[in-house]
Symmetry: C2
Subunit: 476 residues, 2 copies
């Protein structure tokens, strides 16, 4: 469910009239320290070194894949080396999905190879592949409206296009096709499913990503074509002759796997049981090295925490950095954490995750109790010199892995990264370190350092409590 | 050999003092027709339709590969359908090189897969691949200076970087590493050769291209890493631990193949034995569909010829469009043509090939006899409204496939395309139709239509004669 800004204002205004609690405030001395952290962050390369190290020394990190354990060991060692007070893991269990390879070709009318990647959680094809005629749709809704008779036994292709925007809103179009398209095509009796990659680029590099298939459910092989390959299929379909494609996907579920969230903590000096949480996810899709998605997210949090650790004194509350397990195939790390901390969610005073690359943060939003709104305004004022605008009306749920914690009552704050470039590389082999601009990365660290420090020092909380934000669910 | 502009001016000025022939001129009525052709071309999509058709209906066109014959049949049929007066083929024989596949991985210190492509004419590795330590160099000259003892038995890596420029001059750096690096490394006893792709992009798509290995010569497996993979290897080397890579290339020579140049002619109305020649090459590297390299080159020539064919009367001289065979692996089509027409090269009054994509032409240069210099100036004046500047000092040898004809005495004219984007996609899977901007493509057609028409109507020739330009060799 998405709330409009007006509905949101109302649902918080109402309890406030009864509660009329003490406003949360931030002391001028803390603002001054936050400003120093902000300036120091713009000259600090801890985040870069973390991101460089993880993407170089571990590389691709498919959840449950050959590097899952290695990545956890790497991040654990790095957290310890960086001087956190405590580092630990919390187990996360999820279905193991394996990609062994894939290829495809047009058989007729114009034989030629196609570049594609199987979607996460797709089953494989039979060993000899699937050869069938392609039936094309230009949107998810067009497939929805299709008569099953037109689809049965065929390879469904959906060719929705995404365009680049600062707020990345076209990902809604692309991810709907990728997530909901394959089950819909399965239901209509299709033999397999192809989509134009959910991306904004024209590179011959397909965008993988998970689809909505659970182990044991009916499912058909599903894969993403690169944008130029999608163009090619569309040009062939336009000529009116039957287009036959052969698809060979070697992938599928292989039981269960237990990974872990890896957590590092700076222990609070006054109320250590309360904490601010930030982080990113440790897993990545396998074709790239997961630099923008999401080594940078952990790196930014680590960079921010490190600067706070260098202050003469720990802030009042604890600060946690989480490297989440298996975000990509279903937010498993975030869900496990929400389950574990559900009852004590009031201790997680605020959370903010970085999972949209490392380009400049341009907007801050938050979903907090009304009495904390002014404190968010104080935080936003410290961020303003970084070119970050405060939208006090829009929700801020803290990001992908934190969505489950928000759902059980954690107050959320979102630092919105410029997504203009992000969806060109997201989930592709092109997600590599060179796509990160060190200067923009430092701006991210500056923003997170400010938010983390001020959340940990604020006088009063942000409204976290079991069920507190039950009406504010959905994506930022 | 490269001549400086001054040396060039001198070597043509000298014979002119003796010859003092009649200047070549172009009649005002012909200028007027050329101006009409130019304007009409800016609204004509024949070149686009040709390029779209060849890249969609044939796709990749590796010389001697599965589509070589199919491409010749396609282009022959299209030439005929477009109303040329005569269409024929001239056989071209060359070594057949086959790519069956390749893969590579870092074995230590940080195991992970690498994206690479074997270079054309590379031998394969033994079936189990080659596993060896990598020794890195940052330039061709550094490899040249290396002690063979430091290289023996190792995988040589050369990491020279190219940057994007309008005139594409950094390709000199990249192509030297690719062409001359592998034989040099072979000579020094290396086990295999890797380079940072000769490209200006940061995409995870390696740039293939031919290297200087002939059948039967000593040779080692040679391949190009994508730019992000090259970065990764360099970061690992910088850490100081031994970097071990496993390389599996399945490719190599397989006897000889006879393909053909396919030629289309508009028959001249007065002196049909004399002709202007333009075109592009029909072969492409196999990972892409050869849109910018070089379906567009033929498409541009076809578009220009078609407009001239629609005039009420054929121009005085013939106009030939050539779809050259196997440019990529050694200019075989151009060389076969030069051999065949060597004695009668005086009939090829002028030649200009398009082989640098389809972005806007920004410069015209020519290598002609001094008495034709004014006529080139007249042609350049008609091109000026297209934003094309005339550099009367620099050579213009007509382009890659025509270099062999120029070497035996053909006067050359070069229409320089903006190469800023070209070397990001050149020889990669990204060489696909979407990289062509229809508006810039039409500007190219306009320029070629003007040049072809005026060369075919000029009063007097441009200096083509056996051996005429023996001193002006090299690349444009």
């Amino acid at each position: 469910m998405r709330l409009t800004p007006l509905a949101l204002a109302f649902c918080f205004a109402a309890p406030a009239a009864f509660a009329a609690g003490k406003p949360t405030t931030i002391a001028p001395a803390d603002i001054a320290i936050a400003e120093q952290l902000r300036e120091k962050a713009l000259r600090d390369d801890t985040a870069w070194e973390f991101t460089e190290g993880l993407t170089t020394e571990v590389g691709p990190r498919l959840a449950a894949g050959p590097n899952d354990l290695k990545a956890r060991e790497w991040v654990t060692a790095r957290f310890k080396a960086l001087g956190f007070d405590k580092v630990w893991s919390e187990p996360v269990t999820f279905p193991k999905w394996v990609r062994r390879g894939e290829h495809a070709e047009v058989l007729a009318p114009f034989p030629q190879p196609l570049s594609l990647l199987a979607l996460g959680h797709s089953p494989g094809t039979p060993a000899g592949g699937i050869s069938a005629e392609v039936v094309g749709f230009d949107s998810f809704d067009a497939l929805k409206a299709a008569d099953p008779a037109a689809v049965r036994g065929k390879i469904v292709y959906v060719g929705a296009r995404m365009h680049a925007h600062q707020d990345g809103h076209d990902y809604g179009i692309g991810s709907q096709v990728r997530v909901d398209g394959p089950p819909l095509a399965t239901q209509k009796g299709a033999a397999a499913f192809l989509l134009r990659s959910a991306g904004t680029d024209n590179d011959r590099l397909p965008h993988t990503g998970v689809t909505r298939f659970d182990p044991g459910q009916p499912a058909i092989p599903a894969a993403a074509l690169s944008s130029p390959d999608a163009d090619q299929i569309e040009r062939m379909l336009k000529r009116g002759q039957p287009v036959r494609v052969k698809l060979v996907l070697d992938c599928g579920f292989e039981g269960e796997y237990t990974g872990a969230n890896v957590i590092a903590e700076l222990r609070g000096s006054k109320t250590p049981d309360q904490h601010f949480v930030m982080g990113g996810h440790l897993d990545s899709w396998d074709p790239g090295t997961g630099a923008i998605d999401d080594a940078a997210g952990i790196g930014i949090s680590v960079g921010a925490a490190r600067l706070i650790a260098q202050l003469p004194k720990r802030p009042a509350r604890s600060i946690r950095v989480v490297a989440f397990a298996n975000e990509e195939a279903g937010l498993f790390g975030g869900k496990a954490m929400a389950e574990k901390y559900r009852k004590s969610i009031g201790n997680t005073v605020l959370g903010s995750e970085s999972d949209a690359g490392a380009d400049r943060i341009w907007k801050i939003t938050a979903t907090v109790k009304p009495e904390a709104r002014d404190a968010i305004g104080q935080i936003a004022a410290v961020l303003k010199p970084l070119g970050i605008e405060y939208d006090a009306q829009a929700p801020g749920r803290g990001g992908s892995d934190l969505s489950a914690l928000h759902a059980v009552g954690m107050a959320g704050l979102s630092l919105h990264q410029d997504a203009t470039r992000y969806f060109a590389w997201h989930h592709t082999a092109n997600d590599t370190l060179d796509k990160i601009d060190p200067e923009q990365l430092r701006q991210n660290v500056a923003a997170y350092a400010v938010v983390a420090y001020l959340a940990a020092q604020a006088n009063g909380d942000f409204g976290s409590a079991p069920g507190a934000f039950a009406k504010d669910q959905g994506e930022d």
